[in-house]
Amino acid sequence: MVLKAFRRSVRAENKKLRGGGVWAVFLLIPLLSAAYGTFSFCYNSAAVTQDWAGLWGQHTLYYALFFFAPMAAIYAAWLWRLEHLGHNWALVMGMPVPRPCLFAAKLAAAFRLVLLTQGWMWLLFFGCGKLWARLPGTPPPACLLWALRGALAAVPMLALQLLFSMLCRSFVPPVLLALLGGVAGFLFVSKGWGLYWPYGLPALGMNANQGRDMLGGQALPFAAACLGFTLLFTAAAALLLQKWDVRG
């Protein structure tokens, strides 16, 4: 019964993503990031090792630390946008699905979008490496793993952003909070506290601007942090949705 409601909710969320401006963001941001990263890689040939790991570092440097969080926040805010328009919130409260299902479906839809974004980012990385930087061979499998790990690390951040966008009727403030969160994440990661900050996790997962694996020996704490933060934010959202009365 709950599973059926969840599936129905996911289908509804996926429909909201069709033909939305959100796809322009999906295409544009990784594209610009790839152009910037590859240019920086080619230009700084004396300072950056000229291999796939070096290119990965340049591609993820600003993407993971600065642009990834606001992009994920835009995805999350988009998924709540329709509910906040007009008097739609009253309809949401009256929908014949358990309210936590609604939040979980949004999280699933946002995760799917982030997964696709990471795939697009990896394709751009591969294409730029072969065609622009003219690197030999193929990228090491670790790069693909880092991209996927970045998507997984985005889940707690997505849950938090969905919570913010659920509470805030306006589209913009949650996106700016993500911007600040990402910048603070940069400081947390540089101090070695990335695991304790949801916005620092994607940089750790993607191994941003690093040749070596930043998570060496810390895979379990990383997974625990991702799971813990996700459960915490999802539970908070579910609780709020359960307790919340209809508002116009």
């Binding site: 544009l28 600003y62 642009f67 306006s170 913009v172 911007l179």
Partner: protein, 255 residues
Amino acid sequence: MLRSVRAELLKTRRRFDWLLLALLAGTALLLGAGGAPDSLQELASGYSAFFYTLPIVHVLVMPVGMAALTSRLWDAETRGNTRKLLFTLQSRGDFYAAKTLLGLFYLLVLAGMEALGLLAMGRVYAFTEALDPGRLLWLLVCSAAVEAVLLAAFTLLQLRFSSPVLLLGVGLGCSMGGFFLAMLADIGSMGAAVLYAAPFAWFLPLSDMEMAWDTAARQAVYLPQPRRYALLAAALGVGALLFLWGRRAAADREV
């Protein structure tokens, strides 16, 4: 006109726009500082370092910040789809001018927040360098001028498309594009000319502080640069032109 301004001020109640401005100023200062200074040389050039890094940070933060601010200014009309109603009830020119005035007021508040934040950081870190008020004023005026250009451009986009996603997407794209251009400008063959082509990156050529790396002493040296008054005038002119264009677009819009 006064009635339109009052209406805009009424809309700001419970909107907490000052929080958004504080977020922007905080993010810029946090990124500009990059961490606490850890040597006497860094303390002795604390403010100069900020005068050099803040324009770079503005290139990264302000395009998306101004997109967000524009979206906030038009939030009530977008969510309630009331622009059509307002256009038929009040003078469109006044309506547009009131929104612009409020936006400019926000830019002044943002500049004030950055100045106060900078002074507070100087106190907290105990910079030994004396603050040059003229340089601070130049930084704030130039930043506000470029932000006004961005605000006017995003308002035009908002009028045309009414989509916050598109605005923020373009803002993020400009942030990244500006940073990309900053790197291109660093390359001798391209020169700084590329920066002049993109108003969203004008924070950089308007900066009056340059940095050189002293390899022997292994420290950054900050060098004052001549101020580009012509570019500042150009920014103000472009901002005014965009405002007039937007006002005309609002007047001509079908309802």
